[in-house]
């Protein structure tokens, strides 16, 4: 039922990356893969998160993928606790249906999108992106989603809209981490309008060909691969187009540590640690961090003439 609408779209059966392929890529032995697949299918049948999605891979990367297990069990999602493995254990309290995303502000047609309608509104692309955390670890994730630009076009931004502000759900009953003052809640993020319209900027609804698990920011999150991970806000309920640079959570907490732009930049050191290197999950030794996380060709032009030491 979920896939009917796609029968006329560009995605064909042959384009769909087989689930098993992922597990093979992880280099796991067959027995482990089989036992890992079973609970996934059971959950999918129950209609919970992790439901298979029909996606078409539009962007690959020669770097090896980080395993599904690691991607879903190493999460900075402070709404569910500050320990990396905590969200996987505790995010079950988040209810992702019904869910709506309000898109308004300086737009011609403000709208409230139902999440299921939104997931059907655009063909889902699979894009393999590097994901670099400001804490100097990184992963490679096959996201499933659609360009943020496609969504924004639907609401017809006014020419006065210069920035896009994002907001995570604010509900301490569903997000117990919001009861402690680690950060000011709700989590908010922002992009400049040209960053938001850049074709790399993705609204992700899944990863590894399945809907997002709660700990990864279900049901819908932002993915901005050339910026530190904290820019990629999770479990979004509201998107506003505005004329002034909106406040962003980590910048509000530590303006000297986290800038609004937060572009991955090996030559600008964080006050607590160097950003010159990063460790891929599972690697022993760190590797060199690339400017703009390796996406410079596509995004460096957005910042021409800006002093990136000042606008970190």
């Amino acid at each position: 039922m979920l896939f009917k609408f796609l029968s006329s779209s560009a995605a064909r059966e042959a384009d769909v990356t087989d689930e098993r392929l992922y597990f093979d890529r992880r280099g796991l032995i067959g027995a482990v893969a089989a036992s890992a697949l079973l609970p996934m299918q059971a959950r999918a049948a129950a209609g919970a998160d992790g439901t298979p999605l029909r996606v078409r891979r539009t962007r690959d990367l020669s770097d090896g993928l980080t395993s599904y297990d690691a991607v879903t069990h190493y999460n900075n999602f402070y709404e569910f606790g500050t320990d990396k493995e905590q969200p996987a254990r505790t995010a079950g309290t988040l209810r992702t249906r019904p869910w709506t995303v309000r898109v308004d502000g300086l737009v011609g047609k403000p709208r409230t999108f139902d999440i299921d309608a939104l997931m059907r509104a655009f063909p889902l692309e699979e894009r393999v992106y590097r994901h670099r955390c400001v804490e100097t670890w990184s992963m490679v994730v096959p996201w499933a989603g659609f360009p943020l630009a496609s969504l924004l076009k639907q609401v017809e931004p006014l020419s006065s809209a210069k920035f896009v502000a994002f907001e995570t759900l604010n509900d301490p009953r569903q997000m117990p981490g919001q009861r402690s003052a680690v950060l000011q809640w709700p989590y908010v993020e922002g992009l400049r309008i040209d960053e938001a319209m850049n074709p790399l900027t993705l609204m992700a609804v899944g990863l590894y060909g399945k809907t997002l698990l709660n700990q990864n920011g279900a049901p819908i999150r932002l993915v901005v691969p050339w910026k530190y991970g904290f820019k990629s806000i999770k479990s979004i309920v509201r998107i506003r187009l505005v004329d002034k640079q909106p406040p962003t959570s980590w910048n509000r907490y530590g303006p000297g540590e986290y800038g609004f732009y937060a572009n991955v930049n090996p030559s600008v050191s964080h006050p607590r640690w160097s950003q010159a290197r990063e460790r891929r999950l599972g690697d022993w030794l760190p590797r060199a961090t690339l400017p703009f996380n390796g996406y410079g060709e596509e995004v460096a032009g957005l910042y021409r003439g800006m002093d990136l030491r000042r606008y970190y």
Partner: protein, 206 residues
């Protein structure tokens, strides 16, 4: 009134101290062996990022060892059991062992065993500076922990030198506070315990 412990009890306590401090290390080693033999790092209990997990784990046990060694004197005064003082050396040495391993993994795997990278990290980042300073303060204490060194230095000078553990514990606590993002209780709880143990000392001395 100074009370003495029966030699058997004292021996039992010493074994207990060694066990309590050795078991976490043995557990960590066992997990690493498990991982190297092919178990997924998370299944082996090392999280999806085993290196960061190991550095944090070793650092936390170094701090806990510092707590324990700092707790000996207040406990001794409280109970009047002078022999408890004999537990201080093994606790201090275990704490130092964890601190050295903590540094070693960070130096080897984070800083690629490069003195240049290490130096840069320490001078550019307060977080690394405080940790390094704590370790440097603890090093002479470990070196002079033998009976022969106590004799050579003389009890008075030796005792003076070993008060370096107080600033070391404070620096290590700050190092932990600087480690975390956002407001989190855990490092402040660790620092509070250190503060209480130091405060207990001040009161007892009066």
């Amino acid at each position: 009134m100074a009370r003495r412990l029966k030699p058997a009890v004292l021996r039992g306590l010493r074994v207990g101290v060694h066990l309590a401090m050795a078991v976490p290390l043995a557990l960590l080693l066992w997990r690493w062996i498990d991982m190297i033999l092919g178990t997924d790092p998370r299944q082996a209990g090392l999280s999806a990022e085993p290196v960061a997990y190991t550095i944090n784990y070793l650092g936390l046990w170094a701090l806990r060892g510092l707590w324990a060694s700092l707790a000996v004197t207040p406990l001794r005064r409280l109970t009047g059991m002078v022999d408890l003082g004999l537990l201080r050396r093994p606790l201090g040495l275990w704490s130092f062992a964890y601190a050295i391993l903590h540094f070693g993994v960070y130096f080897g795997l984070d800083q690629l065993a490069s003195p240049v990278l290490l130096w840069r990290d320490v001078v550019e980042h307060k977080f690394a500076f405080f940790g390094m300073a704590a370790l440097l303060l603890l090093t002479p204490l470990a070196v002079t922990s033998t009976r022969a060194m106590i004799r050579r230095l003389g009890a008075r000078r030796w005792q003076w030198l070993h008060r370096l553990v107080y600033p070391a514990a404070i620096l290590a606590s700050v190092h932990f506070i600087l480690r975390v993002k956002g407001f989190q209780w855990e490092p402040w709880i660790y620092a509070t315990v250190v503060a209480l143990l130091l405060a207990a000392r001040v009161r007892v001395r009066r």
